[in-house]
């Protein structure tokens, strides 16, 4: 452990704004890309399902 | 959805092969070189076209002079300050002027259909496009290089660096034309390719800019310039070897729409 207490850890020896902003932006971007990829996938599958259901019901009506 | 094809070739093929036997055949040609003829004709054609529209040749030069005029006005007329920044200014302005004329390199050929014909010539497209790029350099890069010393005087460029300025620009703009032509070929099919072209090409220009402006600076400081010029030459050699293939591939992509 390089720090004696949690508050010292947060303070980063006076470099807190730099360390935490750099890490924060990185974390934010990584999480955002994951969230975006998930949202994209869900939306796509939802769209495809809607299409399939429409095709199904059209076939059902025809019969 | 139009997915099927009706009555493809079954309808008349048997009967037509009968007729084919009745008629004599047009002799097929063997492809017999003639690359030099084609390259020379392309050089002559592009030179003639550009020399008939002198405005297009002069515009980059006027642009170059204009941009150089803006800097003393915007920064300061102090000759000492100008002398320090002159190599960079001259190089950046020349680079932008060369870039300005790139968009038209393949555009008119694309619009009137002769690019299609160029692609169908039984010659290597790389060689033919190299001829077009050579004309671009001859009428843009070379005049810019020759004009730069005059603008150098106006920016109080220290004596002793004028020849290096012209030489580095002549060498460097040749690479710029080659690299830029890749971007021009990639964007020729796009309606508003002009800005995109700069976005694609400018990052690739940076090495040439570094060694070109570096050569002029080295000449001012009285250091040896041969290393810079050698690297500019090496960059040109590499561009000469690789760019024509990339240009040809890009043109084929663009013509597909």
């Amino acid at each position: 452990m390089a720090f004696d207490s949690f508050s010292e850890f947060l303070a980063m020896g006076g470099h807190a704004p730099y360390v935490w902003s750099a890490w924060g932006v990185t974390a934010l971007l990584l999480l955002a890309t994951v969230w975006h990829a998930r949202a994209e996938q869900r939306q796509l599958i939802k769209g495809l399902k809607r299409r399939a259901r429409r095709a199904n019901s059209a076939r059902g009506n025809a019969q | 959805m139009h997915s099927s094809l009706h009555g493809a070739s079954n309808s008349g093929s048997s009967q037509s092969s009968e007729t084919a036997q009745q008629v004599s055949a047009v002799p097929l040609r063997e492809h017999n070189g003639g690359l030099m003829t084609a390259v020379k004709a392309t050089l002559v054609r592009d030179l003639t076209l550009l020399l008939r529209r002198r405005g297009e040749v002069l515009n980059p030069l006027v642009f170059f002079a204009l941009v150089i005029t803006l800097f003393p006005i915007a920064i300061s007329p102090d000759p000492e300050l100008l002398a320090v920044i002159a190599p960079g200014l001259l190089w950046v302005a020349a680079l932008l002027a060369a870039l300005l004329s790139l968009d038209s390199l393949f555009r008119s050929d694309y619009d009137d259909g002769s690019l299609e014909q160029l692609l169908l010539a039984p010659q290597p497209l790389a060689a033919l496009s190299l001829a077009k790029v050579a004309v671009h350099w001859l009428l843009t890069g070379l005049p810019l290089a020759l004009m730069a010393p005059i603008l150098g005087i106006m920016l109080a460029l220290p004596a002793g660096s004028y020849a290096v300025l012209a030489l580095s620009l002549a060498l460097g703009t040749a690479s710029l034309s080659l690299i830029g032509a890749i971007g021009a070929a990639l964007t020729v099919g796009l309606a508003r390719g002009g800005v995109l072209l700069s976005l694609l090409v400018l990052p690739l220009y940076i090495p040439v800019l570094i060694f070109g402006a570096g050569a002029v600076q080295a000449a001012i400081f009285g250091e040896g310039v041969s290393a810079h010029l050698a690297i500019l030459g090496a960059l040109l050699a590499a561009s000469l070897m690789l760019a024509p293939w990339a240009i040809a591939a890009s043109l084929r992509i663009s013509i597909n729409g």
Partner: protein, 255 residues
């Protein structure tokens, strides 16, 4: 070998195999990044010169590595697409570009922030940062070019050519920028080049780099799968796949 390449090229096969691989890469990425972060932030010793601001290295360097690697991966995918006409390669290249640009941005941002305690300024024309900035422009160019075409096939091929041209230029750009920097800033202090880093400093860095790579692979697999669904929406196998899931839904609703 050929059979393998073409099997790999089939979107359907790729869709199946990536589903199996993906969770492993996500797990590895999460594990490595969490371990590396804790270690790097809390346990690694502070730098004797830079103090705790040096901990930015654990995001800056992995991001910079990834930024360059993704461009190379993109160009290789482009080459595979152009030579063997394997569409999955192009789909992967298409989804890699935004992540690469994001990583380049992370490297730039963390580098700039790091510059404040180190150089006392938000921006230095440092060789590494300048190359990164140029790399960002290269990424933006590829993304913009892909977006500019109306025909997807032309867009793919144009982006592939540009990525290949870019990847040939990256070493030249890097070399010339380094040369330019040493000329203008002789013997100055650079962010990450330091003599012999102690093990407890570089080990978390290695872990973070590996974690970022796993993250890149996992995300690329995931987004390539989405891209496959998008482009192959009209294909029979996609419709069957979706139909299988649709059948289940009414059954649940009926309960």
């Amino acid at each position: 070998m050929w059979a393998f390449i073409h099997k790999l090229g089939s979107p359907k096969w790729f869709y199946g195999i990536s589903a199996k691989l993906q969770p492993w890469f996500w797990a590895a990425a999460a594990l490595l990044i969490v371990t590396g972060s804790l270690w790097g932030l809390a346990f690694a010793p502070a730098d004797y010169q830079q103090g705790n601001s040096f901990r930015i290295i654990y995001v800056h360097v992995p991001a910079a590595f990834l930024a360059q690697s993704i461009f190379i991966a993109m160009a290789v995918s482009g080459l595979v697409f152009m030579v063997w006409k394997i569409k999955v390669a192009d789909m992967a290249a298409a989804v890699m570009a935004p992540l690469g640009a994001a990583m380049t941005f992370v490297a730039l941002f963390s580098g700039a922030v790091w510059g404040v305690p180190t150089w006392g300024t938000w921006w230095m024309w440092d060789a590494r940062l300048t190359s990164m900035l140029i790399l960002l422009f290269l990424y933006l160019g590829v993304i913009a070019l892909r977006g500019a075409f109306t025909s997807r096939d032309s867009a793919s091929r144009a982006a592939s050519v540009l990525a290949m041209v870019g990847v040939i230029n990256i070493p030249i750009i890097k070399y010339s920028v380094d040369w330019w920097y040493t000329l203008h800033q002789p013997a100055s202090f650079t962010l990450t080049s330091r003599p012999a880093m102690p093990t407890e400093m570089w080990l978390p860095l290695v872990i973070m780099v590996l974690g970022f790579y796993c993250f890149f692979i996992a995300l690329t697999l995931m987004r390539t799968r989405s891209e496959i669904l998008r482009r192959e929406a009209n294909k029979h196998w996609v419709q069957e796949l979706v139909a299988g899931q649709v059948v289940k839904v009414p059954a649940e609703e009926a309960r």
